[in-house]
């Protein structure tokens, strides 16, 4: 598998009235061709900012890329002009947004919203583009696409609208599809359908997907690899099996332990105490330390680097240092993971 996208030490800040908010503080990851990478984290962890930075969609002038590289097929997107980015957005990298209700133009027919990108990037004429639009609607599972293509967004249900948004994103066969919490605003049953659709699409088109979510259950369902973000940093990254069966970072333990499952009978859910740090003045040392019951003295002094667990698995916690005391994950989390292994299921699948 070759690397399609390489993000190196990306730092993004927002200049606000109160000062500089460091939303992303040195994020690095790779995306291989045809794989699905899930970025997981709670709100404010910087996962959505990361994804909009990849697309060059940071709100100007508040959002600033402080440093870092985004190498897409070897070219640095950070250095590209707005004009050059316009040729990449929608064509090479496209995006599915969280709220299907508001991400479609209410006064424009669905067809025209799909056609736009096709005419711009593929140089099609209207008739060809419309034919393609109908195919796309069919592909994302919208019945009667030839009628639906002439309708307005309010004539679609939430799930159907999200399918349309996906069709728009897929229109020009992008190499990367960024899905920013695409199922969060939908009903649970609809969520499953949309996830199924995305898996299908990936099978058929071999598009790489970056899947942003706060829901670990969803991750297990769709992703090949998982990156866990906390306070603007990736704290653990690895394959789904690495992260679900052999988590190393206490934050990942917390996330796994706090996930309700059907198997976990009268067991108490594990909770992570406290709240995420204020990114206006991030704490010294490890940002997770104040909430970490396994924190070491060094956590208050120095930020942990990425420690290698295996070739595919890295985690940023001092517990992996050779001098660190042997600390095992909490019993409840362990039982939870054993449960996954027994049933062959991960999370809410």
């Amino acid at each position: 598998m070759s690397k399609l996208l390489e993000v190196k030490d990306l730092r993004v800040s927002f200049n606000t009235y109160n000062g500089e908010v460091q939303a992303v503080r040195g994020v690095s990851f790779d995306l291989n061709e045809g794989e699905t990478l899930a970025i997981v984290g709670e709100s404010g962890s910087g996962k959505s900012v990361t994804s909009s930075t990849l697309m060059g969609l940071l709100p100007k002038p508040a959002g600033v890329i402080k440093s870092g590289q985004i190498l897409f097929q070897g070219e640095d997107l950070v250095k590209k002009s707005e004009k050059e980015m316009q040729k990449i957005r929608g064509k090479e990298i496209s995006m599915v947004f969280q709220d299907p209700l508001s991400s479609l133009n209410p006064t424009m027919k669905i067809g025209n919203q799909i056609i736009e990108g096709l005419i711009k990037h593929q140089g099609m004429n209207r008739a060809e583009a419309k034919k393609k639009a109908i195919e796309l609607l069919d592909q994302v599972g919208i019945p009667h696409p030839e009628i639906r293509v002439n309708q307005y967004p309010h004539q679609f249900s939430g799930g159907m609208r999200q399918r349309v948004v996906i069709a728009i994103a897929l229109a020009c066969n992008p190499k990367i599809l960024i899905a920013d919490e695409p199922t969060t605003a939908l009903d649970v049953t609809i969520q499953a359908q949309i996830l199924e659709l995305m898996k299908e699409i990936q099978r058929d088109t071999k598009t790489s997907i970056i899947f942003i979510t706060h829901d670990l259950g969803v991750v297990a369902n769709v992703a090949d690899r998982v990156a866990v973000m906390y306070a603007g940093k990736i704290v653990e990254i690895g394959t789904v099996d690495d992260v679900f069966y052999n988590p190393k970072h206490p934050y990942t333990w917390g996330l796994l332990g706090s996930m309700p499952t059907l198997d976990a009978e009268d067991e108490e859910l594990y909770t992570i105490p406290g709240t995420p740090p204020d990114m206006l003045n991030p704490p010294k040392g490890d940002a997770f330390a104040p909430r970490n019951e396994f924190a070491l003295e060094i956590d208050a002094v120095m930020e942990p680097p990425m420690f290698k667990v295996s070739d595919t698995h890295y985690a940023a916690t001092w517990l992996l240092h050779k001098n660190a005391p042997k600390i095992e994950m909490p019993e409840s989390v362990r039982r939870r993971i054993e449960g996954f292994a027994k049933t062959g299921k991960k999370g809410g699948e």
Binding site: M55, L57, E82, K83, M85, Q86, K87, I88, R89, G90, K91, S94, M95, F97, D99, S102, S103, L104, N105, P106, T107, M108, Q113, E116, G117, K120, H121, Y152, H154, Q155, V165, I168, A169
Partner: protein, 309 residues
């Protein structure tokens, strides 16, 4: 949709009926009759005049006659102005009023939209502040003050236009500008707010993510969405122009309905005053109705809730 129109028409008729009734009984209570103009008539002649105007009949009979007259477009007969039928007086004068009012509406709206769009696209920039200042001044300064300024600078001092004259197309320029300033400012303020909202909306982000250029986004996605709600302020803008026209026509000596109204007030010509009032009410109500129906037509979301589907 049909039910909606019917309901609206019903309201419109009720409103007009109330206004007509109100104005009829007010007229009955007010002093003044066709006789005031002809004081030197003998008793017999007076009786003939009263008979001619139907003022000897009992009030309910007069009321019914008044209402039937209204339905046929008969607004009664002026006490002054050679006892001409009010309808005819107004018909003669509707042209200049409509011309200046229409010009002001079109120019004001178009310039206002342009100003508002510029302000929104350059949000918080120099152009934004400039157009915001223009908008605040335009909504605040009364049109007659503005008219005075125009008249003094361009007619009295510079002598480019006649001070107050009617006849040639260029005579409409100053009054049109004076009248256009309020709708211009209203539209500019409104469009700016709408457009700033629209530019910050998620579907604009979707469009950006599609790779559409900024100009393309503003034009294809932003413009239409910001423009549709503007229809809702067209009604108030039209009322503004009607109110303004009364003073503007007076100031620039335009032989229009507003000027007629003011001269009728000065000589207590009640039938003409009432007739003009009714005409204004009618025009206002019809404009509001048209605007509402138009809104339903151009906004796809309303079209469906209207019951079309």
């Amino acid at each position: 949709m049909a039910r909606y129109i019917l309901r609206r028409l019903g309201y419109m008729i009720v409103t007009l009926f109330i206004i007509a009734t109100l104005s009829f009984f007010l007229m009955k209570m007010l002093p003044g009759s066709p006789l005031n103009a002809e004081d030197k008539l003998s008793e017999e002649q007076k009786a003939i005049v009263l008979e001619k105007y139907g003022l000897n009949d009992p009030v309910p009979v007069q009321y019914v006659r008044y209402l039937t007259g209204l339905v046929q477009g008969d607004l009664g007969i002026s006490f002054k102005f050679d006892n001409t039928p009010v309808t005819q007086i107004l018909m003669d004068r509707i042209g200049p009023s409509a011309l200046v009012g229409f010009q002001a509406m079109v120019i004001g709206t178009i310039l206002g939209i342009a100003l508002g769009l510029i302000a929104a696209v350059f949000h918080n920039g120099f152009l934004d502040y400039t157009s915001t200042i223009i908008a605040v001044l335009g909504t605040s300064i009364p049109s007659f003050v503005f008219a005075g300024l125009l008249q003094y600078v361009f007619a009295v001092e510079l002598g480019w236009f006649p001070v107050a004259l009617w006849g040639e197309p260029e005579h409409t320029i100053l009054p049109t500008i004076a009248l256009a300033i309020t709708p211009l400012a209203t539209a500019a303020r409104f469009i700016r707010t709408e457009m700033v909202d629209v530019l910050g909306s998620n579907y604009m982000l979707t469009a950006k993510a599609k790779g559409i250029s900024q100009a393309g986004r503003v034009w294809k996605h932003g413009f239409r969405n910001a423009l549709i709600p503007l229809v809702t302020v067209i009604g108030p803008m039209a009322v503004n122009i009607m109110t303004g026209s009364m003073v503007i026509e007076q100031i620039f000596a335009i032989p229009g309905i507003g000027e007629q109204f003011v001269s009728s007030v000065l000589v207590n010509d009640y039938p003409t005053i009432m007739g003009t009032t009714l005409l204004y009410a009618f025009a206002f109500i019809v404009i509001i109705l048209i605007v509402d129906l138009l809104y339903g037509l151009i906004d796809p979301r309303i079209r469906v809730t209207g019951g079309n589907k």
